[in-house]
């Protein structure tokens, strides 16, 4: 069961991602690209700090990205 539903929203997973639905897969890509830009901007920044600071930005952050950041920060057992 777990394999066919998005870990975040329980939607159908996107075949090419394996874990997330189409929207959350897209958000994942954007999040990763975003992290790289943040790293360049601050020189150094742990991933968890990045997620937390992102969540602090509230409505500036896209809803799907926020879902993903919450998920990775609070519910992800293995990183």
């Amino acid at each position: 069961m777990d394999d066919i539903k998005c870990k975040i929203c329980q939607d159908k997973i996107d075949k090419s991602s394996g874990k997330f639905c189409f929207n959350h897969k897209l958000a994942k890509t954007k999040l990763q690209n975003g992290y790289e830009l943040w790293l360049k901007a601050y020189d150094s920044l742990p991933y968890d700090d990045f997620l937390q600071r992102l969540l602090d930005l509230g409505d500036l952050v896209g809803a799907f990205v926020k879902d993903l950041a919450e998920f990775e920060l609070y519910f992800q057992e293995t990183k």
């Binding site: 159908k12 360049k40 901007a41 930005l57």
Partner: protein, 697 residues
């Protein structure tokens, strides 16, 4: 009582217009009012002739399919009186009034608004209600006595074929697309799910909704990126000024910090001073789009509301016809007369005196033109009995018009370059040197002025601070009704007369919501399905091409029969493709709708603890238990930990009721046939005596 013939029968678009037309055309300005089945009919006398003027109320006829089967494609149609297909339509009496007057009419003059819709309204009444095929046509841009009389004496011998054919073509095309895709989508859903739900998406609505959903998709995956700005303030002649750093944005924290460090002595040297005076010309005359934008900007009226108010002003003969693209105001409009009349209103009096005292006065014009009407302008007729909204819009229109006669304004812009070590800063000032037209257009033009004191080159400037500020890029802004209208103009979909109405339809069909427009889940679902299985309805290309075809019909006055044959053929091919894809579309629509119902956020109400978050039902990812929690839990600065447990069985739905004991939101709890409305708090006094689930409500 019937009216004795023979008479000239005038077809007006609306009762108010009929009354103005009749009064202007009657020799004594006193037409006789008669009622036929409650419809006001005016009888005017002129040159020994009787002119009977009858109003419509917009369209009295509508398209209807020839076949009764509920399938697609539907390619054959006919015109029927609206009250036959729609029992709510109150047009029957108008239809009867026209029919009863047709026999004794010796001539017909169409007096509807001069544009595509007006031509179509007149033509359909002529052909289907009066049973004739020839009419003369009065063309006017205002409902003033002067213009109506001129339109009467210069009336043309026939209808405007370009307007008529392109107007009819638009009706046919929109009707064909509307009915076929509404059926196709609804049937696709029904065949896979046995559920019936009308899902319709018009030809222009599709790409418009598509634009809203695409933007929302972008916002949903937006990741803000940090950047830094240098904020600084300098003191010149004891006054404080904001100073701009040479680079507006810095992408690295380190770089920003280094700049601040380099500048920490807070002392700079003036290295350059420049000043230039530039003329600023008044804005062009209003066409409908510009009026809608400006009215949104100053009064927050939506485009459709602005159009309605403008129409009311037009019907009161105080402004010219508002459905125009034109930014032209030819001298033949008689500006001197208009200005003189406006000058009699005290608020504008002194401005008009100034304008008329000049030897030459010619309004500034813009580039855009319109086949039928000049730019929107006041007629000079005193604005009597306007409501407050009409007054506001009228003032805007008059002032815009007056500003066109004003001299160019002259604005001085001064820049002082200051170097702090190797870093360049700039102080900017601007000042209105000569007001010109701005005086007439106030308060609709405003400029933040700041004048910089004189300072010598190489003098020293002290800063009160030079700091770096962290900021983040923002997601794209959602459309409001005004910017969505701009987007439609940009994409060349719809027309000036239809755009505002299309946005309104998207709201009323529940596809979009809010003043910062968001797609609803339904809107998102429909666009999602079409994007992946049938994008032609969402992309602008097809719609834009059809718009071009219709424009051409108007310009070339071409025959539309052949064009319709080819449009129907294209549509038939497109629908065949849809049909082949029907199962996929149906399944995907069904899945999307189901998902939507599941995910419809179960918001219970505002959190009374932090007053910021929303209380919502969530499911624990570990235990699978559901409970109510505050959305501000994830907000680090608030971290509101409010929760309320929920029963583990039955369905919970929000209500809009508040608990009388503690003011907390109440929910509806349904198990089997039992329904209870209860406070979300376990400790609530209301629960003391009903523990155990007694039935209530």
């Amino acid at each position: 009582m019937p009216i004795k013939g023979p008479y000239v029968l005038g077809v007006a678009e609306k009762p108010q217009a009929a009354s103005r037309l009749a009064r202007a055309l009657d020799e004594n300005k006193k037409p006789v009012l008669k009622k036929i089945k409650g419809v006001p009919v005016y009888i005017s006398l002129r040159d020994g002739k009787k002119i009977v003027i009858v109003p419509a109320v917009g369209h009295l006829l509508t398209l209807s399919p020839l076949s009764k089967s509920w399938n697609y494609p539907v390619l054959d149609y006919h015109w029927v009186p609206s009250h036959i297909t729609n029992s709510k339509s109150r047009t029957k009496n108008f239809v009867d009034a026209f029919k009863s007057l047709s026999k004794e009419a010796s001539e017909i003059i169409v007096m509807t608004d001069y544009d595509r819709e007006g031509e179509v309204i007149g033509f359909l009444i002529l052909k289907y209600l009066l049973g004739k095929n020839k009419a003369e046509r009065m063309k006017f841009s205002t409902l003033t006595t002067r213009d109506i009389n001129e339109a009467y004496s210069k009336r043309s011998k026939q209808l405007d074929i370009g307007f008529l054919n392109s107007g009819l073509l638009r009706h046919y095309v929109d009707w064909l697309y509307g009915i076929n895709y509404s059926r196709a989508l609804s049937l696709a859903l029904k065949r896979v799910s046995n559920r019936f739900k009308t899902i319709s998406i018009g030809r222009v609505q599709g790409p418009t909704l598509g634009a809203v959903v695409n933007l929302e998709n972008e916002i949903n995956i937006f990741v803000p990126i940090p950047f830094w700005t240098i904020e600084s303030e300098a003191i010149i002649s004891k006054k404080k000024f904001i100073v701009f750093y040479e680079k507006t944005k810095l992408s690295k924290e380190k770089e920003a910090n280094e700049i601040v460090k380099d500048c920490q002595n807070l002392v700079g040297i003036v290295t350059d001073i420049s000043e230039e005076q530039t003329p600023q010309y008044s804005f062009p005359p209003f066409n409908l789009g510009d009026l809608q934008r400006e009215s949104y900007k100053h009064f927050k009226y939506s485009p459709s509301k602005t159009l309605k108010i403008a129409e009311a002003l037009y019907l009161k003969a105080t402004i010219s016809y508002p459905r125009t693209d034109s930014q032209k105001l030819p001298m033949t409009l008689g500006h001197k007369t208009i200005l003189t009349k406006i000058g009699k209103q005290t608020v504008y009096g002194s401005f008009v005196v100034e304008i008329l005292n000049r030897k030459k006065f010619k309004p500034r014009e813009g580039r855009r033109t319109d086949a039928a009407h000049p730019a929107i302008h006041p007629t000079g007729k005193p604005p009597i009995a306007l409501n407050s909204k009409e007054k506001k819009l009228y003032d805007l229109i008059v002032k815009r018009y007056l500003a066109l006669f004003g001299k160019p304004a002259s604005i001085s812009r001064k820049k002082i370059e200051i170097k702090v070590n190797s870093h360049k800063f700039e102080v900017r000032g601007s000042q209105i040197i000569e007001e010109g037209w701005i005086k007439y257009y106030k308060p609709y033009f405003y400029m933040n002025e700041s004048s910089i004191p004189d300072i010598a080159l190489n003098s020293q400037v002290n800063f009160s601070f030079i700091e770096s500020k962290e900021d983040f890029s923002s997601p794209p802004r959602r459309f409001n009704e005004s910017t969505l209208l701009n987007k439609m103009e940009e994409e060349k979909i719809g027309t000036k007369a239809t755009r505002a109405g299309i946005i309104e339809t998207l709201f009323s069909r529940g596809y979009i919501k809010g003043s910062e427009i968001k797609p609803t889940p339904l809107g998102t679902a429909v666009v999602g399905v079409l994007n992946s299985h049938y994008p032609v309805l969402i992309k602008s290309d097809m719609t834009r091409e059809l718009e071009t075809t219709m424009e051409e019909v108007q310009e070339k006055q071409s025959n539309i029969d052949e064009i319709l044959i080819s449009i129907k053929k294209d549509l038939r091919d497109m629908l065949k493709l849809f049909h082949e894809n029907e199962t996929n579309i149906g399944i995907s629509l069904y899945e999307n709708l189901l998902n939507l119902e599941k995910k419809e956020p179960v918001l219970i109400g505002k959190c009374s603890e932090c007053k910021i978050g929303d209380l919502r039902i969530i499911k624990s990812k570990k235990s699978g238990k559901r409970f109510i929690a505050c959305s501000a839990y994830f907000d680090k600065t608030i971290n509101c930990t409010v929760t309320f447990p929920l029963p583990s069985y039955g369905t919970i739905k929000p209500t809009d009721k508040k608990c009388p004991f503690d003011g907390l939101p109440m929910v509806e709890w349904r198990t089997g046939r039992t329904k209870r409305v209860m406070c979300i708090s376990m400790d609530c006094p209301s629960k003391a005596n009903i523990k155990g689930g007694k039935k209530s409500g």
